[in-house]
Amino acid sequence: MIKYLMKRMGLMFITFIITIFLFFFFIKLMPDNFVPSPGVGNEWYEQLAEKEGWNEPIIVQFGLWIKNIFTEGNFGYSHIMNRDVSEAYFKKIPASIKINIVPYFLSVPLAIIIGVYAAIKKNKWQDTVISVWIMVFISIPFFVVAVLSQYFFYWKWHLAPDYKIATASEFTELGFWYGISTYILPVIVLTVVSIPGMARYVRAELTEQMTLDYMLLARSKGLTQKQAVFGHALRNALVPILPGIFIGIIGILDGGLITEKIFRVDGTGRMYLAAFNGRDYALLMLINAFGQFLTLTSAILADVSYTLFDPRMRVGSGKLS
């Protein structure tokens, strides 16, 4: 088990270094890497060039970049914010978590409940209604749902207090409850669009489990449909789903670009767009590296949780890779 994990992490680490280097290499190929700001003068340029090795080959620069991270905790200098990028970036994470966490913890149980309900009522009208709803929300792009909800709930029907979430200054000016109430619309939209994918998965898994022989045995030994489903089928159906739930927790850290653009959340997603529009390469490098780190971490976490939840994996773990 430990050996398998070590091997897995080793491979992940190699992948991580290679992809990060690819990002770095590509960013260094950009033609306008240095934009001298007027008034700052050459001294600043000299300093950074010395520190980040701008006159060296790219591979040496990459080494220096990593060295600076470990020795000074310095991920580079952002020219749109005029400070260290990590300082600016990691400060934005709480705002992203704030908007993502409630929809996440609402949508997971709701999705399981809805999926189970649809599976139990398979081919009845309740299932049809849920299937249509799932189909619609899986198909329509999230940004369309979000923008239309803004239009109808704020502009047309005046149900929401605002179409974007309150900023810190609005919180103090207009009161805490007003600030919280602006979160209701985005939270509902995010919840509604994140349920269908998972609900469909739960429904498919559970329907499959319900056709298996052990369910027949459970029914024939006298359990009711309900007891059989909740006592036996649901457990097995949730095994492949649980890792996804764990990965979702890591996803909370990563602010969605669309959510943050549409609802004006001052989080990491908006910072990504700012870095993109401002051509802030140091910031882009950090965000991409951090995003890659999160992705690979969640992949490892998924592996671990598979072995935790599925005994079959534990036995044959050595053969996986």
Binding site: L11, T15, I18, T19, L22, F23, F26, I27, L29, M30, P31, M135, V136, I138, S139, I140, P141, F142, F143, V144, V147, L148, Q150, Y151, W155, K156, L257, I258, K261, I262, Y272, L273, F276, N277, R279, L284, N288, G291, Q292, T295, L296
Partner: protein
């Protein structure tokens, strides 16, 4: 023991007749015929298929249906026709998309419009009767702004050719500040002799406000005339004096372009690119995947590592880096989508060929001396086709979805076309004043996505023979 008279036993056939299999009476149905039959039975998918066909028709024909190209011919005149609300023939009788709009405007301006000859029939409802009877009605003394329902086409014609919306506010500003701004500046056109002759010929001039005579630098004998006039906007730009005969089905954009045309142009670019990307991904991915799956060995091990690294590159990073470096030309977008996009097809191809290569019929073909290429194309490929086609049908909506999302986020910005995502993004910015700019593209993309997904699901079920008789 029964007593059977041996004489009762008769041979079923004569010695000279041979028993042969009787061929089946029923019609033979092949795999594809069967799939098609079952696909037709799935109502939702079949309707989705028809919707896709209709959308395809409009994508091909739609941009040419209106024949309206004022935006490119004369952008300034076109922008005066910007943000018109939708009006669709026939449907307008139901009271929707009838070109009416609720607007807010100054009391004096509306009163003037209601009473003067040019403004007849513009205000449809909302004008208080008391105010019409007595413009000085004391009940309305403090009211400056009124909300009325207007025929937006006539109203736009009125404010762009006769009297601008700000006419009275400019006059009162002048009184307060002592400035001398021309209240009619927005509708005045200065024409030279040639332009004037054309407008006279077309009979579009409402009135001539001023004629300026200046020295002609080329020929001092002939004077040089400039005419300051007001012209009928719709008549001069669209060639019709009656605004109620003008139909912009989906309304116009802020620049005065026809939204109907723009929407189908945007749809066309994303669908062409979808086909492009999907076919490149399919060709590259399936070729590599099937070869790897069929031959396996060291090649498989190397590709496995390579694919793991490539597939771990986040698409967002790839797309942003490429667009920063090379801009948003269509080929850049295609490269971004194909760079990691082929992995999915690679996996499908590898898995399918790996699965089928040890089947008995493949051994049989091998024993008969068939070459590898023949086995791959003739024997294995047809078996995997249903699976592959379904994958491709489902990857078109995924592309459209992703492309629209990133053009909504302004990460993809085409230079000379407006994709549907960009239309939605522009519509979102003005959704309070001009909701039609948001609603039409949003409804289009929603319908397209639902239709494609239903169609793909239907295909998947139809190509899966094991589901036969279950539904």
């Amino acid at each position: 023991m029964m007593n059977i008279n041996k004489k009762d036993l008769v041979l079923v056939y004569e010695d000279d007749k041979e028993i042969v299999d009787v061929s089946l009476e029923s019609k033979r149905i092949g795999y594809y015929q069967d799939s098609w039959n079952r696909f037709k039975k799935n109502k939702a998918s079949f309707v989705a298929f028809i919707i896709i066909c209709v959308i395809m028709f409009f994508v091909v024909v739609g941009p040419y249906m209106r024949g309206y190209d004022l935006v490119n011919e004369d952008p300034i005149e076109a922008s005066r026709l910007g943000n018109l609300v939708p009006r669709i023939p026939v449907i307008e009788k139901l009271g929707i998309f009838d070109g009416t709009k609720t607007i807010q405007a100054g009391k004096q301006f509306l009163l003037d419009m209601y009473t003067n000859e040019m403004g007849q029939g513009i205000i449809l409802s909302g004008m208080p009767q008391a105010l019409i009877d007595n413009p000085e009605d004391p009940a309305y003394a403090d009211v400056n702004m009124l909300e009325v329902v207007v025929d937006h086409y006539k109203y736009t014609n009125y404010i762009s050719s006769y009297k601008p919306e700000r006419y009275y506010s400019i006059i009162s500003q002048n009184e307060i500040n002592g400035t001398n701004n021309d209240p009619l500046a927005e509708v005045k056109r200065t024409l030279n002799q040639e332009e004037f002759d054309v407008e006279i010929k077309n009979n579009t001039i409402i009135d001539i406000l001023q004629i300026l005579e200046t020295q002609n630098p080329d020929d001092p004998d002939k004077p040089f005339f400039q005419y300051i006039v007001r012209i009928n906007q719709f008549k001069s730009s669209l060639g019709t004096s009656d605004p109620s005969s003008v139909y912009f089905w989906f309304g116009t954009t802020d620049k005065g372009g026809d939204l109907f045309t723009d929407l189908w142009l945007g749809a066309r670019i994303s669908l062409i690119m979808a086909l492009c990307v999907v076919s490149i991904n399919a060709i590259v991915g399936l070729t590599i995947g099937s070869t790897v799956g069929y031959y396996g060995g060291v090649f498989d091990l190397i590709m496995d590592r390579l694919v793991e690294i490539i597939s771990s590159i986040p698409f967002l990073s790839l797309l942003t880096l490429l667009t920063i470096r090379f801009g948003s030309a269509t080929w850049v977008i295609v490269v971004a989508f194909t760079a990691t996009g082929w992995i999915g097809n690679y996996r499908t191809g590898r898995m399918q060929f790996y699965r089928f290569k040890n089947r008995e019929y493949v051994f049989a073909a091998k024993t008969l001396g068939a070459s590898d290429a023949r086995i791959m194309f003739k024997h294995i490929f047809p078996n995997t086709l249903g699976y592959i086609v379904t994958g491709l049908a489902l990857s078109i909506p995924i592309f459209v979805f992703t492309e629209a999302t990133f053009s909504f986020l302004n990460i993809i910005q085409y230079a000379n076309v407006t994709s549907v995502g960009m239309l939605i993004q522009k519509g979102q910015a003005v959704m309070m004043q001009h909701p039609h700019l948001l609603l039409f593209p949003a409804v289009y993309i929603s319908i397209l996505m639902i239709a494609f997904n239903l169609f793909g699901n239907g295909l998947r079920d139809a190509f899966n023979p094991s589901l036969r008789g279950v539904e």
